[in-house]
């Protein structure tokens, strides 16, 4: 087991993936559970991205897919989209 950082994982949820910047298209898992872009599991294409985001901050805006300016500090991180403003580690 590995102690994980889950703070950045939410960066994978949204219209765009916070890790790779690719689109998070709506999907269902066959059981009627849809990726609502915020609370459901990520689409299959971005599961690895979600895993990666345990150990890194988001690099892309989940609302528009633009690359973020990101500052990591010893105990946190802060990201900023030129269109949608700042996000900080929870």
């Amino acid at each position: 087991m590995t102690t994980s950082r889950t703070g950045a994982a939410r960066g994978a949820r949204g219209t765009y993936c916070g890790h790779c910047g690719g689109p998070c298209v709506p999907w269902t898992d066959g059981g009627g559970n849809a990726d609502d872009g915020g609370t459901a599991a990520p689409s299959p294409a971005h599961r690895q991205c979600l895993s990666s985001l345990q150990w890194e901050p988001p690099r892309f805006c989940v609302q528009c897919g633009r690359r973020l300016k990101v500052q990591v500090t010893p105990l946190g991180w802060r990201a900023e989209c030129s269109r949608h403003g700042p996000t900080t580690a929870p």
């Binding site: 087991m1 590995t2 102690t3 950082r5 703070g7 950045a8 790779c20 910047g21 345990q54 150990w55 890194e56 901050p57 690099r59 892309f60 690359r67 973020l68 300016k69 990101v70 500052q71 990591v72 500090t73 010893p74 105990l75 946190g76 991180w77």
Partner: protein, 337 residues
């Protein structure tokens, strides 16, 4: 655990040579350590831990690091997401001085005694040196912590400036073995790195000179690196494990096997019995929680607490709680009398 004479000859040799006499293993001996079978690993870790306790003491040095200038680096270190030559998602950003002071305060609050200011540059220009000078002054006014820097390759004048400003330790990594270096970096040479390391030591600053393993080097090259670091006799060696970054030439390199990572920790400790050997980037991926614990009981005597420059580390509390659990005291800030 008792080390038996029947285990492996190299461990018996290491016990006599390193533990008893304090003489680090040579390159060819380190190959034997790195080639130990899995069943010999617990004994090897135990020996490395005994070496660390005898020659370094029980304290663990805790450090925080922060990037003052991220991204846009002109160098092509193939492992680095901050190179401006690769299609990496990392964008250029500067940290202002109030935020830097805040980061230093947060780091000190964890019990850390070291705070390292890092910049992704070939070497510092006047603007960066000026920013660093102001940052050092402001941190000194508000935070009780040792300040280290990592600003790339330096001129003699810059070395003298940093020493004069009270920077007590300077980080400049060799990263990999001389024989493997041209496959990892083409925009500067191994000799240029060695030149900065030599100037730092000559100026009286502590040299922090690290390694990044798991980039595709052979075991022989891993041993070569440990021996080359030992020859430099740095005060500290941060040991990084490759975390393959998107967009870099090494993005598809496999994450290092945990047992190989532990063998490397043992080898580096047995090569440098008196050096501060610090857990640095990538340990979360290569070792996980269990491996982190084994490494602290296998030669490691320092940690980077919290996050790294562009990636996240274990929560600071996880490492600090582990040190408490292992009954390992955090090194206190040394004051000059």
């Amino acid at each position: 655990m008792t080390i038996h004479a029947t285990d492996h000859a190299i461990l018996d040799t290491a016990r006599r040579q390193v533990l008893d006499q304090g003489i680090g293993l040579a390159e060819e001996q380190l190959v034997d350590v790195l080639s130990l079978p899995d069943d010999a690993l617990p004994a090897a870790l135990d020996l490395a831990h005994q070496v660390r306790l005898k020659h370094c003491g029980e304290d663990v040095e805790v450090e925080g690091i922060v990037s003052i200038k991220t991204g846009g680096c002109p160098e092509d270190c193939h492992f680095c997401s901050q190179s401006g030559l690769f299609d990496s998602p990392v964008r250029g950003v500067w940290l202002d001085i109030p935020e830097l002071v805040k980061a230093a305060k947060e780091t000190a609050a964890t019990g850390a005694t070291e705070f390292c200011i890092v910049a992704a540059v070939r070497g510092p220009d006047i603007k960066l040196m000026n920013q660093v000078r102001f940052a050092i002054n402001r941190i000194r006014q508000e935070v009780d912590i040792n300040i280290a820097c990592s600003l790339g390759m330096l001129t003699q004048e810059q070395v003298d400036q940093l020493a004069g400003w009270g920077v007590h330790r300077y980080n400049h990594n060799l990263e990999t073995a001389r024989s493997f270096f041209p496959q990892v970096v083409t925009t500067h040479t191994y000799e240029e790195r060695l030149a900065t390391c030599a100037m730092v030591k000559d100026a009286g600053m502590e040299l922090c000179c690290g390694a990044l393993i798991g980039m595709g080097e052979t075991l022989g090259q891993r041993a070569e690196l440990a021996a080359q670091l030992a020859a430099l006799d740095p005060h500290e060696v941060p040991l990084n494990f490759l975390n393959p970054r998107p967009g870099t030439p090494l993005e598809h390199q496999e994450i290092m096997d945990g047992k190989d990572a532990l063998r490397a920790i043992v080898a580096f400790r047995l090569a440098m019995p008196r050096t501060v050997l610090r857990y640095a980037g990538g340990r979360e991926l290569a070792l996980g929680d269990l491996g982190t614990r084994e490494g602290l009981l296998g030669g490691i005597n320092a940690v980077i607490v919290g996050n790294y420059l562009t990636t996240l580390g274990r929560p600071a509390t996880a490492d600090l709680n582990l040190l408490v659990e292992l009954n390992m005291p955090i090194k206190e800030l040394q004051k000059t009398l």
